[in-house]
Symmetry: C2
């Protein structure tokens, strides 16, 4: 069956633009070449910025004959790279492509290299390199004037020579690949930046909330543990029903758990660290931390849902909590999750006035307060997590 | 001159993939169409997700004849949109394109719409719509099965009918445009997310540092002002020599300024808010805030340079500062900037033991301490900012 290369090329270009993972893109292209042109193997030597060299990352083709991925690493002084980085060598290409057969023809021509001994040496070195890779065609891919990569192909399965239209196809394809790769790399950069920023935000929030934690001598590590429990609860709910929450909710719960006690920064140290029993007045001051926390975060629009978690994590399911005495489902669910996580951690750590409960004792207490202090659904989840040893 | 549409298309597709601003991309395409095919005007009706309708955002062509951008807004029930959203209507297209001339031919054929009154009504409505836009060709652009936009063209400048190869060109182009647009929109989404995350990080850091500020009754608003001064200094330096700092330094300075006093959270309130003179012991405790601040942030790798600013912003140029007595250029420059900004704000606000200096008095003091407390380069910048009324 004859192949319409123009058509293949257009289809490929359109598909490529939407593949934003460089490795996936390369795999796609190599697979297409191996299948459509029926070559024994194909690989791409790709420029890697961080190491300033060209590496074969991905190869396709018959086992045994293909170039071993990861093993081939060529620096800028490597013959094949030097060749393609010098625009004077364009004249030696056949339709934009370097052919082993062409190299052999040139080398057998005694006249050709007269007075060009350096070039002859380079070409001999390239011949050696191509043979060692079992490669008969090299197609350079440039973006503007920069060599991004080199497509390296083995022989055709039927051992015939490449047709002109096939060489044109490789050449045009290499250009499209260069564009698509550049696009994919830019995409990857943006995605990495998003991940880095997210990590930075969480780490900074964690560091600052840990510092605030440290003000209250009895709660060292409290924030980290509450965050762990909250996320475990949420993930368990999502595992039961993946449509219950989106990724945004999990992110918000994460941040809200980290910041749930941020308002303690507004409570006098003398009260936070008091050894004896608290007066009503002092208790009231401590309870204010939920409202202070919400006030601190209030200017930040993107934290709307987080603020609900901070403000209402001391509400009770029966309506006897603070600051507003919200009841049942009127309590934002993000706050209900933090509430049970917060209480579990308070129970299982030492306090000035009592020793820590065991996990078992804490779970008995949480089940006793099902529907009064805690949301029944969340008590069920806590029991399940406890049973599986995840608390 | 005859135009090689295939060639134009390939070039366009390659350029398009690297244009990541949707509006720039559309402008590029419309300009190309208007110039190459010589139509009187061209516009794109583009689907806008947030408003769930199609809007003409950008148009190109002769003044007067072009479709007014921003004025045309079509919802899903609009005839032209309904037409292209129904795959049964493909049969009415000419090489994938809707032509006003074809509509006229159909409407003059009494047989054609027999028993298809709804379709006839729709076609009449489309004719009216196209005429009101002065449009003779509509080219739909789909991504998968979703209509992303419609290219709308006026007559050719030479008033001739469109050739088959021109229609094919529009049709192929619309497909490429759909892909490129989809790519550009994804890019835009990622970039917006990066901006949102960055804003969230800065806002949260600012809120938390303001809360820590509030612990020290005499420094309300201090952090915000120091940040303002630091950034003004840095921008002034960059204006003089754009290669002096990169964007990353400005970001780090921003965060370091916000967090420079974060260590105060570790200093007892009783000392921070003491009215009388401080004992040596108390002074030492307060001075510890720079080291405590660095310790709080230490686990965060991405904040390496920020930590330098926090830790060393009380060093002096002559080596008599704390915590390490670093001298001159050995003090990280980020810390030297915060140092002078911090001191200027301290001088120009009321303290328990003295009233605020005027700006003029503060500048005299800063210049007096040039080369002893402050970096001479920064004193020069402060003087320049003061003269221009930017302090």
């Amino acid at each position: 069956m004859r192949i319409n290369y123009k058509r293949e090329l257009e289809d490929a270009a359109r598909t490529m633009i939407l593949v934003h993972k460089p490795n996936t893109l390369i795999r796609l292209i190599l697979r297409m070449i191996v299948r459509k042109v029926r070559v024994e193997h194909a690989g791409i030597l790709l420029y890697e910025k961080s190491r300033d060299c060209f590496i074969v990352t991905i190869t396709r083709g018959q086992v045994g004959s293909k170039i071993p991925a990861g093993l081939v690493r060529l620096d800028k002084n490597s013959p094949i790279i030097r060749f393609f980085n010098d625009s004077n060598n364009i004249a030696l290409l056949e339709r934009g492509v370097l052919l082993l057969s062409k190299i052999n023809t040139l080398l057998s021509d005694r006249e050709f290299f007269a007075g060009k001994e350096d070039l002859e040496k380079l070409i001999i070195a390239i011949k050696f390199q191509m043979k060692s890779f079992d490669t008969v065609v090299c197609v350079p891919a440039y973006y503007r004037d920069n060599l991004l990569g080199i497509l390296m192909l083995g022989e055709k399965v039927n051992k015939k020579t490449f047709k002109k239209e096939e060489l044109d196809f490789f050449n045009a394809l290499a250009n499209d690949v260069a564009m698509a790769l550049r696009n994919a790399f830019l995409f990857e950069d943006l995605q990495l930046e998003i991940e880095r920023n997210k990590k930075l935000f969480l780490e900074t929030t964690m560091a600052l909330s840990a510092a605030i934690d440290a003000k209250d001598h009895y709660t060292r590590g409290h924030t980290t543990r509450v965050t762990e429990y909250s996320l475990a609860i949420c993930k368990h709910i999502v595992a039961e029903d993946s449509k219950k929450f989106d990724a945004k909710f999990l992110d918000n719960l994460h941040v809200a758990s980290l910041l749930h006690d941020v308002g303690k920064i507004g409570v006098p140290e003398a009260i936070l660290n008091k050894k004896g029993e608290l007066t009503d007045e002092e208790r009231k001051k401590i309870n204010e931390h939920v409202v202070i926390g919400a006030m601190i975060l209030e200017p930040i629009k993107a934290l709307d849902e987080v603020i609900l978690g901070v403000k209402y994590h001391h509400e009770r399911y029966d309506g006897n909590g603070y600051p507003e005495g919200l009841k049942g489902e009127a309590i934002p669910f993000i706050a209900s999750i933090i509430s049970v996580a917060d209480s579990y951690d308070a129970m299982t750590t030492d306090r000035p006035y009592r020793s820590a409960f065991t996990k078992e004792q804490a779970m008995v207490e949480i089940e006793r307060c099902c529907g009064t202090q805690f949301h029944p659904h969340l008590v069920r989840i806590m029991a399940a997590l406890y049973k599986r040893g995840e608390l």
